[in-house]
Amino acid sequence: MRNDAGGAPPRLELRGITKRFPGVVANDAVGFSVGPGEIHALLGENGAGKSTLVKIIYGVLHADEGEVLWNGQAVSLANPHEARRLGIGMVFQHFSLFDGMTVLENIALGLEGKPDMRSLSGRIVEVSKAYGLPLDPRREIHTLSVGERQRVEIVRCLLQDPKLLIMDEPTSVLTPQEVERLFGTLRMLSAEGCSILYISHKLQEIKDLCDHATILRGGKVVGECDPKVESTRGMAQLMIGAELKTLSRRGARPKAATRFSVEALDLASDEPFGTSLKRVGFEVGAGEIFGIAGVAGNGQNELMRALSGELTVATASSIRLDGKPVGNLGVEPRRALGLCCVPEERNGHAAVPDMSLASNALISARNRMKLAAKGWISRDATRAFAERIIQEFGVKARGPESAARSLSGGNLQKYIVGREILQTPEVLVIAQPTWGVDAGAAAAIHQALFNLAQNGAAIVVVSQDLDELLTLCDRLAVLNVGTLSKAIATADASLEEIGLLMGGLHGMTPEVPAVHGELGQGSGQHVA
């Protein structure tokens, strides 16, 4: 391990960091150290406490116990200013950017003191070029792609000449090509002596990039290893704390009748900075799981709304359910015909956080499950249905009267998915089925989707997580700037091919070294 070399103190050392939130210990006596120039991975599932920990290091959150040492000296990190003064920079998972302001203003806001705007503009161009992250300081953030927004965050850190750069799940929004480009920048920084704390749950990435890994589970450090040596399977088991369970997948199926089809779907976005859909088309057969991949913001929200009926389209025939045109129908008429949906956002879209689970059952199941008749709600039927979802999907909740917000993310997602699946839909459209969900719940949800398909339903999965799509789907297509690519069978898809489809927008074609083919096969080891 590099940080032991030469007896110099590590750049960053954590000792016994503990942070409690109501009802949960997010970090429990966490300790590890990062040497100068080291790329150190912090590995763990969603909810393992990684984000909390790095927010403590960056001064956004305060630890209840424990201490932080910087170059061997105990330091107090009351706020991000103090962290930045020490030389700590951070790139947030959900970017800390201001959409209506320019790149220049966004960067100035993240620097110490009151920078001179004119000379800052010059420095941004200079630094962004030097590290291969071209940026125009005058553009407003909302006009940038997700990858470009991340560049803004990184350049903001680089301008402060950081000694430690924290990257929180930086690749979850990037195409494989963009990922490779980012890694190039990070290796360059490491070579210059900047330490990097790299947070991820993607094992292959960590193997490719990092010198050392600390593995968190349930807020505790459960292991350390050299990811170059340790197998991905070994790391995965440490991360999950159990033997990996293999999903019982269906075998190859004969080609079945088309149940759900979309044809030449055009749709103008209803959001100020949204992406309009252009001639989107695909078909899903009975028992098939069809994936829609793509980086967020390429029209996924619009597509979900068009498929669910939240937005209707003028040409009814552009969406067909068992041959029947439904494009001009709203949410409830489509549901009556058997089209159920799980939107991406749990809180406030798929569920109302402040309402009980029973009330949340009414949201989408009131007509199909006869929970209400002629405008009157049957409380008994509603409660019984909520109880059934809780039972059959193993939702950890006190009962149907518990507020949705009192459930953990994974449990609420199981409840929502259960609510739709128990309605025995003919077609299920589901977005990000396991976003922010722990491995146990993710496996249960995946299994439920397999079972539903087994019974002859057609399923559409919209996800940014390629590994998940490769695990779940029979075929997939990529959504890019509102256009859907041709569908490819997952069995013969290479990650490289999908990645190129995803990156079409950014024009970063082959000058970037192609992604290694084994990444694709690595998907089985990745914990969805």
């Binding site: 109501p22 009802g23 403590i56 001064g59 305060h62 630890a63 209840d64 116990e65 424990g66 201490e67 932080v68 105990a74 330091v75 107090s76 990190l77 009351a78 669910s308 009926g309 939240e310 709203g330 949410v331 409830e332 549901r335 949906c341 939107p343 956002e345 406030g348 879209h349 798929a350 569920a351 109302v352 956080p353 402040d354 309402m355 009330s359 009414l362 949201i363 989408s364 009131r366 209400a372 405008g375 009157w376 709600i377 409380r379 518990s402 507020a403 917000r405 009192s406």
Partner: protein, 367 residues
């Protein structure tokens, strides 16, 4: 020792309905000091304010007379607030309801007929709905904030009323006073308690509140209102129309406020005057919140607020307290209520800092 606030995961019901009592208590306490500052005998003034309205049968009847319109309006507003529709122009809708109701009463002045009162009810509700339809249309069609439009229309309604009572509807035998003729018997609500002003309108309020409670708790429409208000995206997902909910809640609130206005002119006032109410349309906003936007709670809240009106009038007579004191009380009550909501949503914990200080690590990042 330091204070720490933690969001509650589950909210106990006793807190939700207990905090309004806390708010009332704090308002009374503040009133005590306010009266002291104003150089009054605080105990005696509070007695006049709070207890004297309850001492006589007439006082109790008067309580119901004042609480009636407050409950009726607040019920409508509460359903709107639940749906995140901020109609603050109930006073204008009330005025329009009164004008429409009075229009019928004056058109059939001197005539007999059991149908006159029912027709006035319909007209009053329609008048209020018509006035509320304007912000509803502007909000659903052009996304104009209903807060400002509904309020601006209140000023306009008051001026329309002023035009009518100064001009075409002025009582020809009224010595040029700006008011209409006194309605004739067929257009006056029957008094239900001899010797008081308590009239049949009180039943309308009670019925409306109970019906609204049933609507909110047992029907899909009520559920729709709540979902649209709490999570618009979820409402869309549920197939509930956002615009439909805006129309529904504004028209309902307009109808109830219009009814309240019509009941005022057909009940205690008996004619159209330039100043119909002491701001019932605005006070009803406080009543709605004090009742926790729950129609049954609103019945209680309406009675509490009615006490403050009658107490204010009594205090004006017996303690020379300006009438504006009532408004101060009402504002304070709403402040305390909103503040006490914090206790509902957050748990306050006293945290001993000693435990942490005991460990000798001065530079540890501490909260």
């Amino acid at each position: 020792m330091s204070l720490k606030f933690e969001p509650r995961r589950e909210i106990p019901a006793w807190l939700v309905y207990g905090t309004p009592l806390l708010a009332v208590a704090l308002t009374i306490l503040s009133g005590y000091f306010l009266f002291m500052i104003l150089g009054l005998n605080p105990g005696a003034t509070l007695y006049i304010f709070l207890v004297s309205p309850l001492e006589t049968q007439f006082g109790l009847a008067e309580l119901a007379v004042k609480a009636g319109p407050l409950i009726l309006i607040a019920t409508g507003l509460a359903i709107g607030f639940r749906a995140n529709v901020w109609n603050i122009g109930a006073e204008g809708q009330l005025t329009m309801g009164a004008i429409f109701g009075a229009g019928i009463a004056l058109a059939f002045w001197g005539e007999e007929g059991f149908w006159i009162l029912p027709l006035m009810f319909v007209a009053g509700a329609l008048g209020g709905m018509m006035w509320a339809a304007i912000p509803a249309f502007l909000k659903t069609r052009f996304e104009v904030s209903e807060i400002l439009t509904s309020l601006m229309l209140t000023y306009v309604a008051t001026l329309v009323l002023s035009i009518l009572v100064h001009g075409p509807w002025r009582d020809p035998e009224g010595f040029n006073f700006p008011q209409s003729r006194l309605f004739t018997e067929a257009a006056i609500l029957p008094v239900i308690l001899e010797g008081t002003r308590l009239h049949a309108g009180a039943f309308v309020s009670l019925f409306a509140a109970v019906a609204a409670w049933v609507l909110l708790t047992h029907t899909v429409t009520g559920f729709q209102v709540k979902v649209v208000g709490q999570a618009p995206m979820a409402a869309r997902f549920a197939g509930f129309s956002q615009k439909g909910t805006v129309w529904f809640s504004l028209l309902l609130a307009g109808a109830l406020a219009g009814l309240a206005g019509m009941i005022e002119v057909a009940g205690p006032i008996g004619q159209l005057t330039p100043q119909l109410t002491p701001g019932y349309g605005f006070t009803a906003i406080i009543v709605a919140f004090l009742g926790r936007l729950n129609p049954l709670g609103i019945i209680l809240a309406g009675l509490v607020m009615a006490i403050s009106y009658i107490g204010g009038e009594n205090a004006q007579v017996y303690a020379q307290l300006p009438q504006a004191a009532t408004g101060v009380f009402q504002g304070m009550l709403l402040f305390y209520l909103l503040a006490s909501d914090f206790l509902v949503r957050y748990r306050v914990r006293f945290q001993s800092t000693k435990a942490r200080d005991a460990k000798p690590r001065p530079e540890v990042a501490a909260a």
